[in-house]
Symmetry: D2
Subunit: 135 residues, 4 copies
């Protein structure tokens, strides 16, 4: 980060002590890094709930790959929503279960709708959306 | 707050700008107040998930008051868990529906268990836990 | 519940076994009660996120009552938003800390905005929204 | 699903109507599929919160790839936690920003700890955990 602004924050000593414990436990380099993370997490929630702008994230899907042509159905769903989808990768967890991660970018509304449809697909056990932003 | 420490935080100008927009929108007095809130919210999650210490909160319950003796059952459940319960208050939402808020204090584990049992009570439509800490 | 419909659900035996364990642990009377609760919880999230219709809930506030006229400020904020507010009750947690629960009813958007403003009030440590619906 | 059990559920007509609307909107094939999903989502939360057994999921990371050797640091962190990590894949979002998804399997506690450390890494903007189970 070449270009930073410095701001001053006043804080009660007891709260600062607890914050410093959290910083140490999670192995943050310094307080600034930790405060910036809290601010970013808050902004992510805001952007996704307001539903405006372009966001990024991933949809993690767990499915039984020998059930109900689930692989074909997931491929078709991704094809229909290709404008939202960056890429996807799969790992096999055991002889029946597959985990696929689909990287998505687009409007929060469309991504949530896509996630709902993945979840509703027969043979899909879980579909979990991770919400991020590009900033 | 008579007793405060002052710390310096470095932050990218773009992130600061977005943070300041959020601060203005929510009508925070200043950045310190907003940063302290983010830190506190993070600590609440931590304390409740680790399940240690004494926390406070409330259980909001919506129920049909003329169903299944739900009022008696909720009273009995509160009686059995009286060590967790500070107080409770009710409002009537319409001719069938009542909202009750139960203020709780104790171990996170016991409070979650109490909330599950309230939720499982026949006639109860919702039981929603609000998690806070005393700090 | 005098008026009920009966529906059939097919479910894998392993998933049913785990569901039954959860039902027993939380002391549900029967599976129907537990399934209805899962459906209701899902509807609550939906209604609050879509932001349409009238919802109910509560805002749990923890504050230092001898700081920054916080009691007056909370009273003023409730006065300004009186159309959202059913009632409020307070308990004292220790010599400095007060917990107040404000029962709210109205549009999801307005309730979230009110909660943000309560949270942003100087002297308020936490403001936690519990989201319910009347159904 | 060759092997299924059939259970009967009683439900108020109004709640069923709302449930059916949700089913139609999300394009579920039938009610059984939707009820099973609700049960599974509930079990995921339970397993991750209790912290027992082996779970799966993914960590989605957004970072500035030309900052603070973040790529090296993430590689090292994954190396140190190799027993948790199945695989990882990256996409470039713009000239500065990279999104990486790390597929993880192990104890909930260790995965959460790993996610915290990824989040705390300088140059990482977001690290978001998606929680699933193998069932």
């Amino acid at each position: 980060m070449d270009n930073v602004t410095r701001i001053g924050i006043s804080i009660e000593p007891e709260l600062l002590e607890k914050f410093d414990q959290m910083i140490e436990q999670r192995q943050y380099t310094n307080r600034s890094e930790a405060v910036r993370d809290l601010i970013r997490k808050n902004l992510v929630t805001d952007e996704w709930e307001k539903g405006i702008g372009t966001v990024v994230g991933s949809v993690t899907v767990v499915y039984d790959y020998d059930q109900h042509n689930v692989v074909d159905k997931l491929a078709e769903l991704q094809h229909k929503n290709h404008s939202l989808i960056h890429s996807a990768s799969q790992v096999r967890l055991d002889e029946h279960t597959c985990l696929e991660v689909i990287i998505v970018q687009g409007s929060p509304f469309e991504i949530k709708d896509f996630t709902d449809k993945v979840q509703a697909t027969k043979g899909v056990n879980h579909a979990e959306l991770a919400r991020c932003t590009m900033k």
